[in-house]
């Protein structure tokens, strides 16, 4: 059990399995804004064969008491099936996809390509003066790569936000 007296902040990756119906995302987002919780990132997509279920992954932060509140508040929304605190429940994988546009020429261009190779970012578009890199990894890894690109011609970033799943056999299902 987490200690409710702990006033330090922690990050939490929360997976929410919801009915794939109109307004469900607005309910979740409204809950966060209405009650003043943070959203660091949020992703959503249908995940079952019939398209009736969607999975929302929310990265948030707060004290232990606030995170417990967030989970309880999410869980009482009518279209919510399951809420899982992946951060608390054990080892999990956390991945994010980014498209990163870098513009430049000469040595900067060479350097961008070299670093992309080191970070295993793929070139998905190129012109004489630009690259678009596609990169998948933990949010921290994406941050690191993007920060390296800043001084050498970074002009645009598009990120998906994190998706996450627990390691091992345990599964989040209805």
């Amino acid at each position: 059990m987490p200690d409710p007296n702990d006033m330090s902040q922690r990050a939490a990756t929360i997976a929410v399995l919801v009915e794939n119906e109109a307004g469900v995302l607005a309910r979740v987002i409204g809950l966060f804004s209405g009650r003043g919780y943070n959203i660091d990132s949020l992703t959503v997509a249908p995940v079952d064969a019939e398209g009736r279920l969607s999975r929302i992954t929310i990265v948030t932060s707060g004290t232990e008491m606030v995170i417990e509140q967030i989970k309880a508040q999410l869980d009482r929304l009518v279209p919510v099936h399951k809420v899982a605190d992946l951060t608390l429940e054990g080892p999990h994988l956390n991945r994010e996809l980014a498209l990163i546009k870098v513009v430049g020429s000469g040595s900067a261009r060479q350097e961008a390509l070299r670093l992309a190779d080191a970070f295993r970012a793929r070139v998905v578009d190129a012109t004489i003066e630009s690259f678009v890199f596609e990169m998948t990894g933990s949010s921290e890894k994406l941050d690191a790569f993007i920060n390296l690109m800043r001084p050498i011609g970074l002009v645009e970033v598009s990120r998906t936000g994190a998706v996450a799943i627990a390691r091992g056999t345990a599964s989040l299902s209805v």
């Binding site: 409710p4 409204g30 008491m65």
Partner: protein, 598 residues
């Protein structure tokens, strides 16, 4: 599938959307709808016209329709039902919906909507009703397909009444109401995603019992959740509190769950609670909260709240637990189930209570009671508002009639809570969480519709009553003999009280200028108006009011300077109470920090 589960032949019959809605309402047990017609809901009104199973009460403002449904729901334990049109009909209902949300009252509100092909086009009387009411409801629906209609209505009633109850909106586009489709009976399988836990964890129950048995200074603090769990929960609460010999206090929402006349009752707690209730909360070593939510009006300053207590919190809503106050023993479950389990576990547990410690605790409580914090002095002819409520209580008690009280919001509401004794649940309807002025008259209307022979009294203030005064017309139309008992102090009394105590006596905009003549006002609405101007008039006027089988407004001229005491000022602790003007028990008055609170 057995023959019994097969839909009847008529279920497959084609009917209009409006007919499907009415049929579903009927099957959900709806007997009365509070509503107001308009363009988008005309098909439902047309269907209502052609049937007799469901009665429609025409209100005069949509906000009142929701409060009436709340009064109906709170006094019967059933789901209240509301029907309003699109656009302004829906937006007017929003205050009532939030009121029901804050106080956990089951209400289903049907709103009309422009036809589906016009949604999003800024059509006449279009509003984004599901968008606007999303944070105002427990859940809401927009029906866009005929085949979803019947199921959605059944779902809405299930959601409104299950778990922690609340308001649910169903937005109904006009083309769906006019279109044709098939009816579907209530689903037999469980709801796909919403299945609140009602049965408590027995290990937690045993832990709670052991703590309460070994407690030296225990207290039970019960709230609206016990009322919402049905009359049996209140009986179980009384049984448990008596068998364990515990002192019991109720929240504003919980009044009536434990009999006010019981010697173990400490009165209401919180900002205007009794001295003994608040000091028992402050001094207890084990607190058992059942069906209350540690509201800021109850806890006062959080870091000084019950500093020595081990806290047990039973609530049907897990999000209420550890929200404001950290507790040691959380119990998720329905109040009746929790109490039933507690009683059984109490009998099984072989630990013994410390009789000496309990006797000492009761002696301490009796000493606090000696403060007589609700004492007031009625001298001369000027009527003290407390005296008016006390006489109203005593004289209604004399009649032996089933009596229901509603209130508006403000000083009169607190005096009603302090001086009117409630022996049973579902007899007290007040806007607790949202604090909605204008609640009492329409709520009383809903109560009277459900209980035509009962005595239904709205204890009101002269300011609040004007917020939904148009409902006097509804009372007249349906011959609902609601009594409006106005404590007229010519001020928005609670605003004036705070201005006196917190804002240097600068009574900014709180004087009730240009009041109507309430006697003539009652008469113009086909009711009876009376005035009590001196203490000698009071009893006669109350008796007459009770005897009249028509809507009555009684205008009681009360002392305009009277304040509600005891009072825990905002930001203060339970042991820092104002007992009367200038008389502070145990410590500081209002801090700057407190002034910033509401």
């Amino acid at each position: 599938m057995s023959a019994a589960n097969l839909p009847a032949a008529s279920d497959t019959q084609i009917m209009t959307g409006a007919e499907i809605v009415l049929r579903a309402l009927k099957e959900q047990g709806v007997e009365v709808i509070f509503g107001y017609p308009g363009g988008a809901v005309l098909p439902i009104y047309d269907a209502i016209f052609q049937q007799n199973a469901i009665r429609h009460i025409l209100v005069r403002h949509e906000q009142a329709a929701v409060h009436a449904a709340e009064g109906y729901a709170r006094s019967t334990g059933k789901v209240g039902c509301v029907l309003v049109t699109s656009g302004p009909g829906a937006t007017n209902a929003v205050t009532g919906l939030v009121d029901a949300l804050m106080d956990s009252i089951p209400v289903v509100c049907l709103t009309g909507q422009v036809p589906t092909h016009l949604i999003g086009n800024d059509a006449f009387q279009e509003a984004d009703t599901t968008g606007i009411t999303r944070p105002a409801t427990k859940h809401n629906y927009l029906v866009k397909r005929m085949e979803d209609l019947a199921r959605t209505v059944h779902d809405a009633f299930y959601v409104a009444r299950s778990g922690r109850p609340g308001p649910v909106v169903i937005d109904l586009p006009k083309d769906i109401l006019i279109g044709k489709g098939r009816y579907a009976p209530p689903p037999t399988q469980e709801h796909r995603s919403y299945r609140p836990q009602t049965e408590p964890d027995m290990a937690q129950i045993r832990k709670a019992v052991r703590l309460l048995k070994e407690a030296r200074r225990p207290v039970v603090y019960s709230g609206g959740g016990v009322i919402n769990a049905g009359p049996e929960a209140s009986e179980l609460l009384a049984k448990f509190v008596r068998m364990a010999g515990l002192p019991c206090t109720n929240t504003l929402m919980g009044l009536g769950a434990f009999p006010a006349s019981d010697p173990q009752f400490l009165g209401m707690l919180g900002m205007h609670g009794t001295y003994e209730a608040n000091l028992a909360m402050h001094g207890c070593d084990v607190m058992f909260n059942i069906g209350a939510r540690f509201d800021d009006r109850v806890t006062g300053r959080l870091n000084a709240f019950a500093p020595d207590a081990v806290k047990i919190h039973a609530d049907i809503d897990p999000s209420s637990i550890n929200k404001n106050v950290k507790v040691e023993v959380p119990i998720v479950g329905d109040a009746a189930s929790v109490l039933r389990a507690l009683i059984a576990a109490w009998e099984d547990d072989d630990a013994r209570q410390d009789r000496e410690a309990m006797a000492a605790w009761w002696r301490q409580i009796d000493a606090w009671r000696e403060t007589k914090c609700l004492r007031y002095v009625q001298e001369g002819s000027l009527i003290k508002p407390q005296h008016a409520v006390k006489r109203l209580y005593e004289l209604t008690l004399e009649t032996g009639r089933e009596t229901f009280i509603t209130t508006e919001v403000g000083q009169h509401q607190m005096w009603a809570a302090q001086y009117f004794g409630f022996e049973k649940p579902n007899r007290w309807m007040t806007s607790g969480g949202l604090g909605t002025m204008g609640y009492g008259l329409p709520a009383a209307m809903g109560v009277q519709v459900a209980h035509p022979d009962a005595l239904v009294i709205d204890i009101a203030g002269e300011a609040s009553i004007l917020m939904n005064i148009q409902e006097m017309a509804t009372l007249a139309q349906y011959r609902l003999p609601v009594k409006v008992f106005i404590l007229n102090n010519q001020y928005m009394g609670m605003v004036r009280q705070w201005q006196e105590l917190l804002h240097g006596g600068r009574y900014s905009e709180s004087y009730s200028e240009a009041l109507p003549d309430f006697v003539k006002l009652a008469e113009s609405f086909h009711g009876v108006g009376m005035r009590a101007e001196s203490a000698d008039d009071l009893d006669r006027v109350i008796r007459e009011m009770i005897a009249i089988d028509r809507p009555v407004i009684v205008d009681v001229a009360v002392d305009p300077k009277e304040n509600v005491f005891p009072m825990i000022p905002s930001g203060a602790a339970h042991n820092e109470m104002l007992l009367a003007s200038g008389q502070i028990a145990g410590g500081a008055g209002v801090t700057d920090e407190g002034t910033a609170l509401v």
